[in-house]
């Protein structure tokens, strides 16, 4: 083999290497662009909690403008109240297998635990609500959340000792 042949062979090998590298880069970039980013099973999702005070007032009532886009409030059963006021809003991560706690306006403790992604690409989240003294109020609620879809939890008094203060309605949304 002459020196010229050896140089040609090395150049050829280098071109093959560059071609292969470029091809791999294209495949990786294509895959990154082609697949939606909503289903990142490794990342911890975020939970958005809204706490609403639901009451019934004479007349047409009113809905806090900050939650005016929550369509569920205008449909049964939540339309049983014609007035909604946003009391609090919070966002926090929900980690896989680790309960995240949040104290509600009525003193109860809401816990959310991200379990896994379902086969249809939704977040499986375990929700519990306990009394301040640790007793269960809602022992277990396992929910499949589509990303950015609202789960409403109603039926609690805002203040169990003063029913005139109305009901506490929770909105729970999970998003990437």
């Amino acid at each position: 083999m002459s020196a010229g042949d050896s140089v040609l062979k090395r150049l050829f090998k280098r071109r093959k290497f560059l071609q292969a590298t470029a091809l791999m880069a294209m495949v990786v970039a294509g895959g990154w662009l082609a697949f939606p980013k909503t289903a990142n099973a490794d990342a911890d999702p975020q939970a958005d909690i809204i706490e609403l005070q639901g009451t019934t007032t004479p007349g047409a009532g009113s809905i806090d403008p900050r939650v005016a886009n929550v369509a569920q409030l205008k449909k049964p059963p939540l339309s049983a109240y014609n007035t909604y006021k946003l009391l609090n809003r919070a966002t926090f991560p929900v980690k896989k297998g680790v309960p995240s706690s949040y104290t509600l306006k009525n003193g109860r403790i809401l816990q959310l635990t991200f379990e896994d992604m379902s086969k249809d690409n939704r977040y499986r989240v375990l929700t519990t609500i306990s009394e301040p003294n640790g007793k269960d109020f809602l022992s277990r609620l396992e929910v499949l959340h589509g990303a950015n879809e609202l789960l409403a939890v109603a039926g609690q008094w805002l203040d169990p000792k003063h029913h005139d203060k109305g009901a506490l309605v929770l909105g729970i949304t999970i998003h990437p």
């Binding site: 639901g54 009451t55 019934t56 007032t57 004479p58 007349g59 369509a71 569920q72 449909k75 049964p76 059963p77 939540l78 339309s79 049983a80 109240y81 014609n82 249809d120 690409n121 939704r122 499986r124 609500i129 269960d136 109020f137 809602l138 022992s139 277990r140 609620l141 396992e142 929910v143 499949l144 959340h145 589509g146 990303a147 950015n148 879809e149 609202l150 789960l151 409403a152 939890v153 109603a154 039926g155 609690q156 008094w157 169990p160 029913h163 005139d164 109305g166 009901a167």
Partner: protein, 206 residues
């Protein structure tokens, strides 16, 4: 029950008298041939009948106990027939047993102003001002099986809702009554998807 979400919406619209033309013909033929569809229509119609009894009684100024008696009498006389709802795929302690009784109770809570403490939920103080609508829109969650996922575009579209919306897999609340309401048309991403309202009663069950 193995009805698709789209079919359930059609049946609901049929019971509400909202269908016309081809959609009406198609749904009527479905009801004639599909046992699940006809059972769902019966359940929805039963709910409507119960709500109408409650409305009529309220218009006549009857008190909540009398209204409840009338509903139970109607059930005894089989004026309205309550069919069992479909069970959920697993751990259906509550969800699978969302029965028409829950629907009656929910309708009653929404329509009747009662100052006495009742199990279930805090009641609005002036419920009479609330617009009257059937409280439960979808009484059962459609069960999708892998065989239903095929290349048929209509079936695929019907299945698409599964990838959005909210769905309850299990509920466990031994001391507090829980009702689950599926609210179609309120999920943000997909018009076929449902959002969910979980209603937990404050009063402890004995």
């Amino acid at each position: 029950m193995s009805l698709s979400h789209e079919t359930m919406l059609d049946v609901m619209a049929y019971v509400d008298g909202e269908l016309e033309g081809d959609a009406l013909d198609r749904t009527e033929s479905l009801l004639a041939s599909d046992e699940d569809a006809s059972r769902l229509a019966l359940e929805l119609r039963t709910l409507g009948d119960c709500v109408r009894i409650i409305q009529t009684d309220r218009a006549q100024g009857r008190n909540p106990d009398e209204i409840a008696d009338d509903v139970m009498k109607a059930l005894d006389k089989k004026i309205v027939a309550i069919a069992p709802l479909a069970t959920r795929r697993r751990n259906a302690i509550i969800v699978g047993s969302i029965s028409t009784a829950f629907a009656i109770a929910a309708a009653w809570f929404l329509l009747v102003n009662n100052d006495s403490p009742l199990p279930g939920a805090p009641l609005p103080q002036t419920v009479a001002q609330v617009s009257v609508q059937p409280p439960i829109a979808v009484p059962a969650i459609p069960t999708q099986t892998p065989t239903q996922v095929g290349v048929d575009p209509e079936k695929m579209a019907a299945e698409a809702y599964l990838q959005s919306g909210v769905d309850i897999e299990s509920v466990d609340s031994p001391k507090h009554e829980v009702s689950v309401f599926y609210v179609p048309g309120t999920a943000s991403a997909n018009p076929n998807a449902s959002s969910v309202v979980v209603w937990i009663g404050e009063d402890e069950q004995k």
